[in-house]
């Protein structure tokens, strides 16, 4: 356990630069977005009211008040989130492959540590999770901050204030990364964890068997996905909605746990018996 934590810490230190860069980009781009979008709106209002001489009330009914929704739907806001998501997705692969490449092959050391090789797997998957949660938490902190910036920028009468919850539920993408209930959080992140564990297994297959491993990895991933969604498929096409939604839901959770457990076991097996430096 102690060595697992040390490995988690060690792995985190290796990604901390990338992590901070992602946080920095998100902060800068999103806040810039708030300022630019607000300015655009105010400039437009200025133009309409002062140059086209449209009354303020008329302007507000025609063009609506400015709200955070304008920002959330813009690339300024979604772009950094997409970038972070891509960064994490990329790192899911990099976290393994970086140990095998270069002049100094670090995987030698990792595999020679006097600890179970499961810990290597757990430390890496924990880091993906920590990174993801870290980015999401940062976004959660950023939202009220950005709302405040907006308040400074746009005068009261032009502004329609939104609560944080309203912001989050306004677009589905945001609602997935920041679920509104604890159960949803467990479900979404559980599903994410399962997906990462499948990818990790596929990566380790490639590392163990090279070209053949890629094929094995693809087949394994396909099987895992099929196993996971099989209850839904059966429900739809064979059983004619035999299960109650709640039952189906529980079965899905069981399937997810099975797939996760199988991936962990398989990864451990590969690390112990098949992987090669």
């Amino acid at each position: 356990m102690k060595k697992y934590l040390k490995l988690v810490n060690f792995e985190f230190n290796r990604v901390v630069k990338l992590f901070i860069v992602l946080l920095g980009i998100t902060l800068v781009v999103q806040v810039a977005g708030v300022i630019i979008k607000s300015k655009d709106y105010l400039n437009m209002a200025n133009e309409k009211i002062n140059e086209d001489l449209i009354p303020k009330a008329q302007f507000l009914t025609d063009y609506g008040q400015f709200s955070f929704l304008h920002i959330i739907r813009s690339l300024w806001f979604v772009g950094p989130i997409a970038l972070c998501a891509a960064g994490v997705a990329f790192y899911i692969f990099l976290i393994w492959y970086r140990d095998w490449v270069g002049k100094n092959i670090f995987v030698y050391r990792l595999l020679m540590l006097p600890t179970t090789r499961f810990n290597i797997f757990f430390a890496k998957i924990s880091n993906i999770l920590i990174m993801t949660l870290g980015l999401v938490a940062f976004q959660l902190i950023l939202l009220p901050l950005e709302a405040m910036v907006l308040k400074w920028m746009v005068p009261d009468e032009f502004r329609n204030d939104m609560g944080i919850e309203e912001m989050i539920t306004s677009i589905p993408e945001l609602n997935i990364i920041i679920p509104s209930s604890f159960v949803e959080l467990i479900l979404y992140y559980g599903a994410g964890l399962m997906a990462v564990s499948i990818l990790f297994t596929a990566i380790l297959m490639e590392r163990s068997f090279k070209w053949k491993g890629i094929i094995a990895g693809v087949i394994y991933s396909a099987i895992a996905v099929i196993v996971f969604i099989s209850p839904v498929l059966l429900q739809e096409f064979v059983l004619n909605s035999y299960f109650y939604p709640m039952e189906l839901f529980v079965i899905e959770i069981v399937m997810a746990v099975i797939v996760l457990a199988a991936s962990v076991w398989m990864s451990g097996f590969l690390l112990k018996k098949k992987v090669t430096v």
Binding site: K3, N104, I105, F106, L111, L113, P114, R117, K274, V277
Partner: protein
């Protein structure tokens, strides 16, 4: 004792190791000699469970390698196995964190022995110094067995001398050492036992001093006889 028994290893369809058996004892320096590409590195990796074998068995003191084994056997590969942007000190800290067999005092002593600077970044080291750091990380562990992969290859003369000095010092005393090389000249007088590898097999396993005593043959004479006879 390290026992390698009938080990077979394939890469794809190619058999790199066909049938390799030998033993290496504690307190002795065993030298694995073979031309490049004969599978010496693969064999060391296999002993450390860093690559699976297709057949055969490898035992360390009668047991197959498990996690605890890494507290009593260390491998010094031909490339450094630390993250390049670490300093030597950070690399030493890393070792200290994970190995109970890490011996801080000995690590410090080795640092002096090789005249290395703790604060140097690993990526900035010369080839000779990189090899020395690599040796430091492997030798500062209080392990019974040390495996070294070509510790002399591609290294300047003075570094070679310093590294050769390790073998006659207390740093190696009472340990079992396996060293691979494709060129025996430098270490002819340092080794106890020779294992000749050719074409995926052990062609001869002999005691170097005994060959000199019984047959008046140097290690190279024996090699010549085996390969050309």
């Amino acid at each position: 004792m390290i026992e390698v028994k009938e080990v077979e290893k394939k890469f794809g369809r190619k058999k790199i190791l066909k049938d390799v058996s030998f033993t290496a004892n504690k307190g002795e320096i065993t030298c694995l000699i073979g031309i490049n590409g004969v599978g010496k590195t693969t064999l060391l990796n296999a002993i450390m469970a860093l690559t699976p074998i297709n057949n055969g068995e490898i035992l360390i003191d009668g047991e197959p390698v498990k996690e605890k084994t890494f507290e009593k056997i260390s491998l010094i590969p031909d490339a450094l196995t630390m993250i390049p942007n670490m300093t030597i000190e950070e690399a030493m800290e890393f070792m200290n964190d994970f190995y109970t067999s890490w011996n801080r005092e000995r690590a410090e002593e080795l640092l002096g022995f090789f005249r290395l600077n703790k604060n140097d970044r690993i990526s900035s080291l010369s080839k000779g110094n990189t090899a020395k750091v690599n040796l430091l990380l492997g030798l500062a562990l209080d392990v019974d067995y040390v495996l070294m992969d070509e510790p002399f290859s591609g290294i300047d003369m003075f570094s070679r001398e310093e590294i050769a000095n390790v073998f006659t010092s207390h740093l190696i005393e009472n340990r079992g050492v396996i060293i691979t090389t494709h060129e025996v000249n430098d270490i002819e007088h340092l080794i106890d036992k020779v294992v000749l590898l050719d074409d995926g097999m052990v062609t001869k396993e002999f005691d170097a001093e005994k060959a000199r005593e019984d047959d008046g043959m140097s290690v190279i004479d024996v090699m010549r006889e085996v390969y050309q006879g």
